[in-house]
Amino acid sequence: MTVLNAICVQEQVLEGDTLEQKWEIAQAWGFDGIELRGGGDGAFAARLRDLRRAAANGVPMPTVCVEMSHFIGAFDDDLRRDAITQMGEQLRVIADLGGRGAMTPASWGMFSRRLPPFEPPRSPEDDTTVLVDALGTLGELASELAVTLYLEPLNRYEDHMVNRLGDAVELIRLVGLDSVRIGADTYHMNIEEADPAAALIEAGPYIGHVQASDSNRLEPGAGHIDWALFGATLQAIGYDGPIAIESRLSGAAADVLPSVPPLLRRYL
């Protein structure tokens, strides 16, 4: 069985004034598509004209990854409502572009149980209620738009609610919608999962999107993640979606990124 996963790179590491220019570079470096970054305050929706033009010019943009200061699991009700609104916009835009879906964590940088003051202001039960509500609302919208909302587990220092793939599976079962899936990120898995391969296989049916970066948050190949095992595992669960590189870089983009597609392709 040969599965051909599109290997994408996030737009901010590509130079160029337009997405078409960025796509020229991405292609030259061996990538198959671009992952967009979705800003808040309506910034992503405001790009719609440029994004449509790029799509019309053949730039593959299957996914958008949220880039905001607050998220769907925010403690503050107003911020949470705004995050849900913004994510709804991102789902609409990505659907408009013919893409696959939008990715968000429960929160990022809001609270960590590993850092003072250690005890969050909201109970785990209330966290679950809030997340199931937000994921349900966005999942129903995604379903109407025929796209998917990807929930990304983050490591314990970046989020206190959804750290492992299993945490996301539990929430998705509670939500009960096929339009909510997991966005699995190898960097976070390397910290949180006892065995990333076994975790991916257990969560296999729920995996909707994959982001790849190495153990040290740098591009694949710059750390110690076992990419052979990663590729075999994605094949074992029949994952045929994109793999987006969301990494810091160990050197100049033009020097280090072209080595990434061949490295991953070798094992896919």
């Binding site: 069985m1 076994a198 076992d226 052979a228 095992l229 595992t233 094949q235 074992a236």
Partner: protein, 426 residues
Amino acid sequence: MAAATRVLARNWRGSYTVPAAGLYPHQWSWDSAFIAIGLRHISPRRAQQELDTIFSAQWADGRLPQIVFNPRLDVHYSPGAAFWRSERIPGSPPVPTSGLIQPPNHALAVLLVHQADPEASARRRFLPRAYERLLAWHGYLADRRTDPSGLVHVLHPWESGMDNSPYWDAPLAAIGETFRGDIPRPDLDHADASHRPSNAEYGKYLYLAARYRDHDCDDRDAGYPFVLEDPAVNALYARSEWALGRIAELLGNDPAPHADRAHALTEALETLWAPELGCYVARDVVSGELQPYRTVSGLAPLLIPDLPHTDELLTMLESEHFGLGQAALVPSHDLTAPTFDSSRYWRGPSWFNTAWLIAEALHERGFHDEARSLASQMADLGLEHDFPEYVDPISGEPRGTLRFSWTAALSLDLYERLHGREGAAL
């Protein structure tokens, strides 16, 4: 072969693979080597780790133990760490192990794992590290287990890997003693009693194991009653010496001593050739008697490059006794023998590790069509039945436990070599 990857990922325990979840909760020596041969297609790093882990339990005398126990699961398999108390035996490693050994297929596996990704191997210094361990392991076999015949012996049916082969019937019957304590059988919680060795056999097994243990596993118990020369054990030893020679070459060392050893073993194997049966047999060193049974062990010398009976073994494989191409895989025992039992462990059922060895041997001896046909039957049977421990040699129906690691690993290996990106290596 995604299903095989799922089995191997689920049976991984952080640094090694269990043969199967449930029935076999620890690390087994020759299982690990077979498993590594498949793991190399999924993760060369994990395949190296699998072997590094078994090597890490090497005894001071060089032996690689049959089982490395997970002490947290000691009630799930018998005899376990509490039976062996290896920590009380001089030269045992820091982890609890069995004192027995298993067939030496490790050098073969090390070479294949290295070749799967020589760069990853070099980066992790895998080959030189493994070479030292393998030298000590083969040294143990040469110094402590070699008879005047030039062949190595096993001191327990378990050491052959083929626990209840008819080879052991007469030697076990000649032993009057049996184990006096309780005979716990946790294996029967997981498998049908009619498919497993019987309680009478287990009494003898435990008697021998306890006696070997109580003599500090020092191989100096003069009256020890079970000393057998098994063809497959010796064939694997010779084949592994060839592999060790290749490893020596890759490391810039002299391969000649390994080739010499392999030649000597091949010559000595002649004493186990039974012309009237058309295959090799085992010899009871205590009684001096050959054990006149056709088993898959007696076909395993096909693995040796300069064997004088290659064509006769192919004829035997294709005869009514083993039915190559007609039977499912390669039966563990002669289909026409009165001692044949299609469902009892090593007295008839077909196993995937021996099928892999025979397919590999056929390929190496130039019987490419036969090798490909056996390989593809094996990959199909494994996948179709969720990687069973063994199969009925006539119907192909699954027997024993399912999602068995070496079945998944070796089916994966043959599938990759038949269809994979590495090119048609079979």
